[in-house]
């Protein structure tokens, strides 16, 4: 089991340095972005100054299976109770071609506490680069050019009130763990500082 694990890690490490580039590990996550919100208004990270940000990258067109991460975030906000107003939850589309502002607005009716962000291909690429989030278009098996899927970083990013990186949590994190982590940043303990 241990050996399998080490072998798997070796394979993964070899694979990982490929597409990412060797310098990626040395780069810090930066929370800067210039995107467009669901009303088509340009927004930057400074638009959300003063709020802790929960940020996920994704897209609304999931052809086969859909991640439940927005559900997780929405439940995490419920756990935060009165503190939820101190947090903004941003869903950054990595599929600006199909996720227009109007489409994001329709889709996020199911998640009214989540702000959808999109933009030009270049704006989305720049935001993802800063967050060190990756995404890659995958052609549909049947060759339908409109039915592509997108592999993407599924982590939940937590950024501070100025947009600086605090933490990255796995997409399958339990909502109460996400809420707990946010609360730990809202109310830092003295001895942690």
């Amino acid at each position: 089991m241990r050996q399998t694990l080490i072998a798997a890690l070796a394979v993964l490490a070899a694979w990982w340095t490929g597409p990412a580039g060797a310098d990626d590990a040395d780069r810090a996550v930066v929370g800067r972005f210039l995107l467009v919100d669901m009303t088509g208004r340009p927004v930057t990270d400074e638009t959300y100054a003063g709020k802790i940000r929960l940020v996920v990258f994704g897209y609304t067109y999931c052809p086969d299976i859909c991640p439940t991460v927005l559900n997780t975030l929405s439940v995490a906000l419920e756990h935060l109770g009165a503190d939820r107003g101190k947090v903004v939850t941003l869903f950054v589309s990595v599929d600006p071609e199909r996720d227009t502002p109007a489409h994001l607005k329709d889709y996020l009716v199911s998640f009214p506490e989540v702000t959808g962000l999109t933009g030009s291909a270049a704006q989305v690429a720049a935001a993802a680069y800063n967050f060190k989030a990756r995404y890659e278009k995958q052609p549909a098996a049947d060759g339908d050019p409109a039915a592509y899927s997108i592999d993407h970083t599924a982590s939940i990013y937590i950024m501070d009130r100025a947009g600086n990186f605090l933490a990255r949590m796995p997409h399958a994190s339990a909502p109460d763990r996400v809420a707990e982590r946010v609360r730990s940043y809202l109310y830092p303990k003295r001895d942690d500082q």
């Binding site: 086969d64 299976i65 559900n71 199911s110 599924a154 339990a174």
Partner: protein, 193 residues
């Protein structure tokens, strides 16, 4: 299956490696080595009354998790609606549990839009089912034995009309072990629900 993966991810984290860009989720039928006892779920009916799985003890259950914002989930509902009476004849209850927030509204609208007639309204008002059932993607269909234990799960939308599904449900109803050859093919999303 679960533990090595968890250990693997923990090892990755410990090495400071980024998590895989997209936590690849295997689709299709996953048969468990041993049946898993489910945590209690607070399932509600269309009137908000408790409609838990306890009432279904003694018969096998197909518990489908879906949400109105999940296109492949919605696309699968008509097949489950057709399956329900056929499964009932085998002694299997089909339960479609919506993970939508806000109770039954999204369910009522979706059922009306699709002309769903057999499936009952079942909601996860406590918004805890995804976490409790370890569902990081949707749709997922859990196959429960007569004791309410999960013997297998199907990740993604299944072709419920075919011979494989019939054979699989026959085995489930009879309490016989499921085998990989019974796996229904993945359903292709062909409509824009």
């Amino acid at each position: 299956m679960n533990m090595p993966r968890r250990a693997f991810l923990a090892a990755l984290a410990a090495l400071g490696l980024p998590l895989p860009a997209r936590a690849k989720v295997a689709q299709g039928l996953v048969i468990h080595d041993a049946p898993k006892t489910l945590p209690p779920l607070d399932i509600r009916d269309g009137d908000g009354n408790p409609a838990g799985l306890e009432a279904l003890r003694g018969q096998a259950v197909l518990l489908n998790l879906w949400a109105s914002w999940c296109m492949p989930c919605v696309a699968e509902l008509p097949a489950l609606d057709r399956l329900k009476p056929k499964a009932a004849a085998k002694g299997i209850a089909v339960v479609a549990l919506s993970l939508d927030r806000g109770g039954k509204i999204a369910v009522v609208n979706t059922y009306a839009r699709l002309g769903i007639s057999a499936l009952a309204i079942r909601t996860d008002d406590a918004r805890a089912a995804a976490e409790k059932l370890n569902a990081s993607v949707l749709p997922i269909s859990l196959l429960l034995d007569a004791q309410g234990r999960e013997v297998a799960r199907y990740v993604g939308g299944a072709d419920w009309d075919g011979p494989q599904a019939a054979a699989m449900l026959d085995a489930l109803a009879a309490g016989r072990p499921l085998t990989p050859d019974m796996a229904p093919p993945l359903a292709r999303v062909t409509i824009a629900p």
